[in-house]
Every structure is written in C-alpha cells, then in structure tokens.
C-alpha cells in the first residue's frame, strides 16, 4: 500500500513517517516546507516549494494534482492550521472527509477517534481513497525509528486561481512553560474565584516543584493563564508523574489531558464531583482552606 505523510515541521515529518511505515510498504513524505523535507525517513520526499509570499494553504491545487499523479491510498497529515485547510479542501474536492486526531490507525483503514472529548471512543472508516487522517506521534505508540532513502523530488507548483496573502504577522510569545514535559502539575478550575487567589496555588506549586495548568474556563473565559496552560482535549495533553486538580469538576474534556498521569490527586468542595471517580486520592474540602494547609505540610 502506498501511503503519504503531509507535514510542515521536522518533528512531525519524522514521527508520522515512522508511524506510517508500520502500516504501508511504500511511504512518501509530502513536505510543505524546507524543514519538513527530512531525508532518510521515507521512500521519497515530495517537496512542495511554496513560492515566497504565498501561504502554505495555497498549495491545494498542487497537492490535488499530486494525489492524481501518485494515487496514495492513505494520507496521514500533521494537524497544523494550514494543513487542516489544505486537506479539508482536498477532501471536499474528492467527496470524502478527514478523520481527525486519530488515536489509532489500522492498515485496513479503520481508525479510532474520541467522541465528546473522550466520553466515548469511536471506530470509523473513510469510504473512499485516499483515506485522509490527521495524527500525532501518540497515534503510533512505539513505532521503530523511521527509515528511508535520500530521494527528494521537487513537485511542480500549480498556481491557484486566487489566493489569500498575509499582510503582516506578529510572532506569538514563546510559552515560558511546556506542560507536555512537566512531571508534576497542579491544575486549577472554576473553584478559583479570582485571579489574586492564584497566588496561594503558585505557593503550593513552589513547594511541590510543580508547573501550573488549568481547565478551559480559566485560560479562555477568564484569561488568567495563557493558552499553553490549558490542559484538555483542545489544549495540552500531559504525562506527569503527579497531577493535583484544584476546584476542577472532572469533565472528560479536561481529564483526557491528564489521563496518562501516574497518580492523580483532587480537591473539590463538591463530594459528587466526577473527578473523585477519576482520581487516586481525593479530598472533599474548600481549596481556600486546604491549599494553604497543604503548602505548610509539604514544607
């Protein structure tokens, strides 16, 4: 079976190529940037040279022509904003739909995805080829390191009939925290009433040697913590040794972001909060009362 990887970053190119190799005997890496044109991980790199000043998104016509020429049966794509546009447009042209955030992809084309952020798991199968998926390294678990050749083929650019251009850009500030690497994390939720109250939590984080994360309302509605701190299905998925949830109810969309934690602790004043069913150690209590006491005991 011939399968493609579509990527714009080096890490994803390597990880997805390694993963796709476990499913297909012929792997082509469609690189939308120089960085993604990694040799030695696929049988061939198909390098799309997006012209200077053009957006990666304007490569749809080029990719569509390449699909016609190469006939991949399966496409596994890196889920960046730009690539979602490219493959979404491609899917519309071909009367198919992308299987997004596949938790697992099988050689027979079936895939497992989350339903309601993890409340359910679904097994699905695209009806047509190419079957298109977005995936991450986690989709393929422990795939052996990717292997391949040095062959790089330049793909002829197909000029689109019309395209948007970027007028100006502003780099996003580099996140000063990477929760995906953190081994100890404290998460705060709606149980925190005001931004100033985060101070007692930060003190506790200090005592625990933990990073601070949060559920969606704290990052988005309140804006007390940056996007990179939002733990959940549409935020960051973490792998800590210890996770302590403060004033978090335990909704699946958040818990999916910490389900890999070795040990989960939770404090919530509502004894019926779903989080107590998903934690190793729970404490029913008022975080305003308990958190300072905990910080003291952990001295």
């Amino acid at each position: 079976m011939k399968a493609w990887v579509i990527a714009q970053n080096e890490k994803a190119a390597r990880e997805l190529a390694a993963g796709v190799r476990t499913l297909a005997d012929q792997v082509q890496l469609v690189a939308l940037t120089d960085a993604a044109a990694v040799t030695g991980v696929a049988d061939e790199v198909l390098k799309v040279a997006v012209p200077a000043g053009a957006m990666v998104e304007s490569s749809v016509d080029t990719i569509a022509a390449l699909v016609d020429a190469q006939s991949p049966e399966m496409i596994v794509a890196e889920p960046t904003a730009a690539i979602k546009v490219v493959i979404g447009r491609l899917a519309a042209r071909r009367g198919t739909a992308v299987v997004t955030d596949a938790v697992k992809i099988n050689a027979d084309g079936t895939a497992e995805v989350m339903y309601f952020g993890g409340v359910g798991h679904r097994t699905v199968k695209p009806a047509a080829t190419p079957a298109i998926y977005t995936a991450s390294a986690a989709t393929f678990g422990d795939a052996p390191a990717a292997t391949g050749t040095d062959t790089v083929t330049e793909v002829a650019w197909v000029e689109p009939a019309s395209a948007l251009t970027v007028k100006s850009t502003e780099q996003l500030p580099k996140a000063d925290v990477d929760l995906t690497a953190a081994k100890r994390i404290v998460g705060v939720g709606r149980g925190i009433a005001a931004e100033e109250d985060l101070q007692m939590v930060r003190d506790l984080c200090g005592k625990m040697g933990a990073e601070l994360g949060c559920s969606r309302p704290v990052a988005e509605a309140e804006g007390w913590l940056p996007r990179e701190a939002y733990i959940g299905v549409s935020g960051v998925v973490t792998n800590p040794d210890v996770y302590l949830a403060l004033g978090i109810s335990g909704q699946m969309q958040h818990m999916v972001g910490v389900s890999n934690a070795k040990t989960i602790f939770a404090i919530n004043k509502d004894k019926t909060a779903p989080i107590f069913n998903q934690a190793d150690y729970g404490l029913v209590g008022d975080i305003y009362d308990v958190v300072p006491k905990l910080a003291e005991k952990l001295q």
């Binding site: 904003a81 979602k84 546009v85 979404g88 447009r89 899917a91 519309a92 042209r93 009367g95 198919t96 739909a97 992308v98 299987v99 997004t100 079936t110 995805v113 339903y115 309601f116 952020g117 993890g118 359910g120 798991h121 679904r122 097994t123 699905v124 009806a127 019309s162 948007l164 970027v166 007028k167 100006s168 850009t169 502003e170 780099q171 996003l172 625990m208 040697g209 988005e220 509605a221 804006g223 549409s234 040794d241 302590l244 070795k262 040990t263 602790f265 004894k271 107590f276 069913n277 934690a279 190793d280 150690y281 729970g282 404490l283 029913v284 209590g285 308990v290 905990l294 005991k297 952990l298």
Partner: protein, 252 residues
C-alpha cells in the same frame, strides 16, 4: 453585510451515561448549542453592520423549542433549522453539502461563520469544506474580524504567529474558541426570540448529496480508568494529613 453563522446542536455531554455493556446512553442528555459555537454566534453578532442569520443541520432531535430560542436570543434575526435523521452523525462532507444547499436556498450571504470545532467530534472541517464547495476563500483560526468594504480584515492565530489577512467577500471563516465571550441571554432576549422566524427544511427540501464519506463502525464507552479512588474529607480529623502524606509520598 449578510452573515450566516452555522452551529451544531448536540446532546449535553455532562448527561451522557454509560450502560452496563459499555455503550453510551443519551436518554437524559438534552440538546444544547455546541460550546464553541456559542462563541461563533457571538463573534458573528458583533461584526459591525452585520445582519445575522443562523443555520443548523442535524437529526430530528435538534428541533428543540428551548434551543431555537437560545439561538435567536444571541443575535441572529432568523434561524434555518434542518432537523432530519438523515443527518444523524453526519460527517463533514455530508454536513458541508447540506449547509451549502441551505445557504443558497436561504439567501445571498457575504460571510459564513463557523466555530472552532464541535463538542462531539471536534473535526474542525465543515467550514473548510463549505468554503471549497462554494469556491470561496476560507480562513480558520480567526481570532478577530473587522468589517471592511466588500472585504473583512482578520487576525488569524496559528501555532506560532498571529497573521493579519485581508479577505475579499464572499468568504468563510472559522473562529477560535476564545475570540469573544458569548453573552448570557436575558429573559427579555429569550422572550423576543420566541417571535423571530424559524424556517424548517428536510433533507429532501435541500436535495443535497447525503452519501456517507465516513462509516461509523462502533461507539463505546472507554473502560473506567484504573484509579485508587480513595476519598478523604477535610472536615474529618486527620484526613487532610492523610491526603498530604499520600501527596508527599508521590512527590518523593
């Protein structure tokens, strides 16, 4: 500017239960506006000079009086309701084709607005497919919209940067989940909403292609996580100490 906001009505996932044989039970999960679509409705309503209509496509169960008023209490002046079991678990291609048919039947729109992703599948694909099927420019990750003359200027947030893009109309945008906080409709808004027009269409009225692009083979509840579930109570003498001891041990 004629703006159409497309939203999804889904079962309230807080009330989805698990059956004894590991399947999902929706019996007490009432229909609600998919969370991130509330932000999209608000974003559409706040575009300067926008006359907003709403469209929603789904199974028969989405045609719920409370949700119709909920939608019309948030800014849209009319609602196009396509509630037909043909659209149960419809994939992005089927849904996009229906929305294109609905949009063309409903009027001439300058802008179609989508949310960041639906609460159930979070595919983030319907808006993109609608743009392609209409032959219009489409921008995802839109975090700000400023109305212009025959165009809009958007700020679009990617993984690394915020891009400013001028988009000629007609166009499709998919906004971020935090573009703007949705209003909490007042009783007055909800009462007024009861008088706004709702047009109901079936799949046959739209005549769009409903051939499935993705087959759903099975939906199951995940096995419950293997956790200790030891629960202490702060009001019980010594329990905070026990909790602290367990935490200290785990931190070792």
């Amino acid at each position: 500017m004629e703006v159409l906001v497309s939203l999804k009505i889904v079962p309230d996932d807080q009330d989805i239960q698990t059956t004894a044989d590991g399947k999902l039970d929706f019996s007490i999960a009432k229909p609600v506006i998919s969370s991130y679509d509330q932000n999209a409705i608000e974003a559409a309503a706040q575009i300067e000079g926008a006359n907003v209509s709403a469209i929603t496509v789904g199974p028969a169960s989405i045609n719920d009086t409370k949700q119709r008023k909920n939608i019309l209490a948030r800014g849209p002046k009319q609602l196009f309701m396509v509630a037909d079991d043909t659209f149960q678990d419809a994939d992005a291609n089927v849904t996009a084709k229906a929305i294109v048919a609905g949009a063309q039947k409903a009027g001439n729109f300058d802008l179609i607005v989508f949310g960041a992703g639906s609460a159930d599948t979070y595919a983030q694909q319907v808006g993109i497919q609608v743009g392609e099927l209409l032959g219009w420019p489409v921008v995802n990750g839109v975090s700000k919209i400023t109305a212009g003359e025959g165009s809009i200027t958007v700020e679009r947030t990617t993984e690394t940067e915020v891009q400013t893009i001028d988009v000629p109309l007609p166009a499709v945008v998919a906004v971020t989940s935090d573009i703007v906080e949705p209003r909490i409709p007042s009783m007055r808004d909800i009462l007024k909403a009861g008088k706004l027009p709702v047009t109901e269409w079936t799949a046959a009225d739209l005549g769009s292609d409903t051939t499935k692009a993705i087959d759903i083979i099975e939906t199951v509840a995940p096995a419950p996580a293997d956790r200790k579930r030891e629960v202490f109570d702060a009001s019980v003498d010594g329990d905070i100490d026990k909790f602290a001891a367990a935490l200290a041990e785990a931190l070792r």
